[in-house]
Symmetry: C2
Subunit: 319 residues, 2 copies
């Protein structure tokens, strides 16, 4: 049996490749700047050149079983990236990326969206090992999700299921969301949402806060969590507000698939208990009685830098 | 191959049995009063006596492959009815009904909740034939749901997934719900919810309405749809409000499983376009762009009286 799979974590800034074995050890890595190319053909060409170096380092192409890609707006059914707003070569069309890599490398290639890849990675290598029913929620620049039911990722009728960041949490006067609508979970509970909440709280009162030393537009979710760690009350309330809303959202999600666990991943989870305690408390308060004490609330055990590559590689193992 | 399955639609009032063939033809039926018995043993005994008559009418037990039961608070994993508030013999414990019927009749028995049975029935005999991904929403005294993903009912980690009637639609000052919480979809969009909306609208203004001829507490969803059919504006607005909220809920549900269709079933669907037009319009208005034009909005094609028995029988065919 061929011992390795190539994992590609295709992000808006970097495209990170890893050669991964079946235990989740990353044997070699390389990276390419995602947006340094206007045309997808040039991007793929640069990627293939870079990845051939690490393929050679790990014993050549005969050791490679397949390749897995996790990408924004990735569609597992078609192997394409569809209308990805943040990719210079992918924003206004359908890019058959799995097919292009498969032809260029000569191995089977599967592609899925980044949150689904994270869920598969967590199920293969992380805290969700052995679980058949869980919901992965990624808290980064946006809020993504990968839903696992009966041990399978939910792709739905079109490959785009699992967009829980776009459930409406505030139906009246909700914040504008990048999707063009208002009140989405993502507008509140992403990293950018946390920064927006901080700016709102600062504006609403004259309460002293360490954050007042910064220009409002420069505040990030990391600044808020650092201030909260120093005891800043306003910053703590920002995370309480965020956790509270995520808990309410999870109470709704439980009615759908009654998962064994909710697994959180991404930058915001670095806030730790600041986020997770109010989240779990809010879930228990808002959940339907039969679901109240059932799900676990877990934070990804995978190292942030490599988790996305591992997740992508796991998509390849499934081939 | 044994040609028939027994379907049992176990309702709060009647327990309706049918002997069903593989095409969905009901060969014989009988019924028992569900709540005429204090003890479940007596209920099962009465059922078995009644069902033996129709088994004999259709050629005897050797023609029966299995039995399927659709029941409130039914758990497919355990074959039990668990804490069913509306059943005299089932409200404060776990009743292993599938096992009891299997022992008494000598055939395999599967049990699921009523909304899941309806979804399986629709997939086997109705408008969802051939669909792998759809969401069934039952609009009766309550709001139930059966979610189908990859051709399978979603049961979740505990057998209780698919409680979409208890998604929170109104987070501030929501109506009280039978589940003990506030603002659930069911509190607005069930038959009783429609009657509540009518009473609220009547109270909020002095607008003339045919419904003012009735005692407020006597108004049912049927009265509202009959008045609306006669052109009563207030009654029309009640259905617009109901459809609007259901459409918003479906927009959220689409982010979860991106279904090919939403299939509606139950008493409220008799209102027809009064309900379905605002529902679909609201969905298109509120859905995330990638889901906006995808799902179909269908009303069950199965005859109301027999649909639940067919659904229950379909659970038996799956054994």
């Amino acid at each position: 049996m061929k011992p390795y799979v190539i994992g590609l974590d295709l992000g808006g800034t970097n495209s990170v490749f890893g050669i991964v074995d079946s235990r989740g050890d990353i044997k070699a890595t390389t990276a390419v700047k995602t947006q340094a190319y206007e045309k997808v053909e040039d991007y793929v060409k640069a990627c293939v050149e870079a990845v051939h170096v690490i393929i050679d380092q790990t014993g050549g192409l005969e050791n490679i079983k397949a390749m897995g890609i996790g990408a924004p707006n990735g569609n597992f059914y078609t192997g394409s990236i569809e209308f990805a707003p943040n990719l210079s070569w992918g924003h206004d069309g359908i890019v058959p990326l799995a097919d292009m890599f498969s032809k260029a490398l000569g191995v089977p290639v599967a592609l899925t969206n980044d949150a689904n890849a994270a869920a598969i990675g967590e199920m293969t290598y992380g805290v969700a090992r052995g679980m058949k029913n869980f919901i992965m929620i990624t808290l980064g620049t946006g809020v993504g999700s990968g839903i696992v039911i009966n041990g399978q990722i939910v792709y739905g009728s079109d490959g785009f299921a699992g967009e829980l960041g776009h459930v409406i949490m505030v139906r009246e006067n909700g914040r504008s969301c990048g999707c063009g609508r208002n009140g989405c979970l993502e507008a509140y509970c992403s990293a950018t949402g946390v920064a927006r909440t901080a700016r709102e709280f600062l504006k609403e009162s004259a309460e002293p806060s360490l954050l007042r030393d910064m220009k409002p537009e420069d505040i990030t979710s990391l600044d808020v969590s650092l201030a909260a760690a120093k005891g800043d009350k306003l910053s703590k309330r920002v995370y309480e507000f965020t956790g509270e809303m995520l808990g309410e959202a999870c109470a709704d999600f439980a009615t759908f698939s009654s998962p064994e666990a909710f697994v959180f991943f991404g930058g915001l989870t670095k806030a730790g208990d600041l986020l997770m305690k109010p989240l779990e408390r809010s879930y228990r308060k808002h959940a339907l009685a039969i679901f109240r004490d059932k799900p676990k609330f877990l934070v990804s055990s995978l190292d942030g830098a490599s988790a996305a590559v591992l997740g992508a590689s796991a998509v390849g193992w499934d081939l």
